[in-house]
């Protein structure tokens, strides 16, 4: 499992374009929003939590199809499926590798982009905490979407159509935590909900994703 994790991370970092692309996209988005809604603090600060969360979500979406597509093309996915490692485990590991290469950089870079969008300082811990809790669920759900569309020739658009509605609960609670952080309210309730969703997703979605992969590999 660890070998697979290391292999996936190495491929993501060396294959060019994958690693850091999400963060770059996030940066561009944070830079474009002020052009759209105006640069003054009074308009930017209230929408900053939502923009940051939606940006993280879209940045995560960008690299989803790479989770299985390349392995499907060169046949290593078939090897993984026949390997002694359960396919559910392989799916979870590949989602973890995706999170480490895209989700984690987003979490670390988010405070910086928060500054660009005039996010108040006291909200930064809430933002980082909510992203750290929520992005693993985004990667896992993305792996499920990628598993469903892996055999399709034009899967990219379909992938986003399938995955984005699944992101709604995570987005609602994640943005709510950040918004409460901005207003200085207690964040425990949405935090518990978000943690619950993420844990349930991590526990159950690998089963669904592996089932979809088995269908696609038949």
């Amino acid at each position: 499992m660890i070998a697979l994790l290391i292999r996936d991370m190495r491929l993501a970092t060396r294959a060019g374009g994958g690693f850091g692309l999400g963060v770059a996209f996030f940066l561009i988005l944070s830079a474009l929003v002020p052009f759209g809604v105006g640069p003054d603090r009074a308009t930017l600060a209230p929408v900053a939590p939502g923009i940051l969360w939606v940006g993280a979500l879209l940045a995560c979406l960008l690299s989803l199809d790479r989770i299985f597509a390349l392995d499907h093309e060169d046949g290593s996915l078939d090897l993984l499926a026949t390997a002694p490692l359960p396919l559910e485990g392989a799916v979870a590991i590949k989602a973890l590798a995706h999170w480490i290469t895209t989700g984690l950089p987003l979490v670390l870079a988010a405070p910086l982009f928060g500054v660009l969008l005039h996010l108040p300082m006291q909200a930064v811990p809430a933002l980082v905490l909510s992203l750290a809790l929520g992005t693993p669920a985004l990667s896992m759900l993305g792996a499920f979407g990628a598993a469903i569309t892996v055999g399709l020739r034009r899967g990219g658009l379909l992938l986003s159509l399938l995955v984005l509605p699944l992101y709604i609960p995570t987005l609602i609670f994640g943005a709510e935590i950040t918004r409460r952080g901005v207003e200085g309210q207690a964040i425990t309730t949405p935090l518990v909900f978000l943690a619950g969703i993420t844990l349930a997703v991590l526990a159950l979605i690998p089963l669904a994703a592996a089932a979809a992969l088995r269908v696609n590999l038949r």
Partner: protein, 241 residues
């Protein structure tokens, strides 16, 4: 009579052929009856004549949810026991459910404009219907983009299971996110909140009509799907010969 008998497409086609005219006829009578009777009801003292849109809005909303539940059951039956007609019925039901969701949203907007003063509000009920519509679209798109029919049935079945959980989750997550403008239960049995009988009985008839209409449409579309499969099999045989 068990559903397993109808796993045989020939048997399914024979039975539904006899049942369809009756179903279509009674659906037409109930729908037209419910809507016309609803149109003849007196005007509500607060809402005026706009109240009459309830006879389309509520049945469509009810069917939008129930069709998804029916797709979930049909997908489960397919995944567990490989009941082919069941998978085709789930496929046939999806566009009908999407249209019902759209009718509920559109009539709701037309009703909301004079009553709430807005076409659209990010109310929990409205939002969860929009999300339900997105799930329908994703489901239909996945069906149409996978070529092998059995793989498509499997993949959409898994998507339907996961989607059901997340649709329900979104339904309650949006409650957390915004307060509502929409009323609560429309057909509460509690005497104080109950709708007047003048409106209730036409509404029941209209709901029955929409239920029958949906059943008839699902059967017609399932029959079309079965014919499509037969046609594809015949063409494949011709290609080999």
């Amino acid at each position: 009579m068990s559903i397993w008998e109808y796993a045989n497409p020939a048997k399914f086609m024979r039975t539904t052929e006899g049942a369809l005219p009756w179903l279509v006829g009674s659906a037409a009578i109930c729908c037209v009856g419910g809507v016309v009777w609803g149109f003849l009801t007196p005007e509500d003292f607060r809402q005026g004549s706009t109240v009459k849109i309830v006879f389309l809005h509520v049945p469509a909303a009810m069917m939008a949810i129930n069709i998804w539940v029916m797709m979930l059951v049909a997908s489960l039956i397919w995944i567990i026991r490989r009941h082919h007609v069941s998978a085709l019925a789930a496929r046939a039901a999806a566009p009908i459910g999407a249209v019902m969701t759209l009718i509920a949203l559109a009539t709701g907007a037309i009703w909301g404009q004079p009553m709430w003063g807005t076409w659209w509000e990010w109310d929990p009920r409205l939002t969860s219907f929009l999300i339900l519509f997105l799930f329908y679209i994703g489901y239909i798109a996945l069906w149409s983009s996978v070529e092998d029919p059995d793989s498509a049935a499997d993949l959409t079945g898994v998507l339907c299971l996961v989607g059901s959980v997340f649709a329900l989750l979104s339904r309650y997550a949006v409650l957390f996110w915004n307060q509502g403008l929409h009323q609560g239960a429309s057909l509460s049995v509690a005497p104080g909140e109950r709708m007047s009988a003048v409106y209730r009985y036409p509404l029941y008839l209209s709901m029955l009509g929409f239920l029958l209409l949906t059943l008839a449409l699902i059967l017609i579309r399932t029959r079309t799907e079965i014919r499509k499969r037969r046609l594809a099999a015949l063409q494949a045989r011709d290609m080999r010969a």
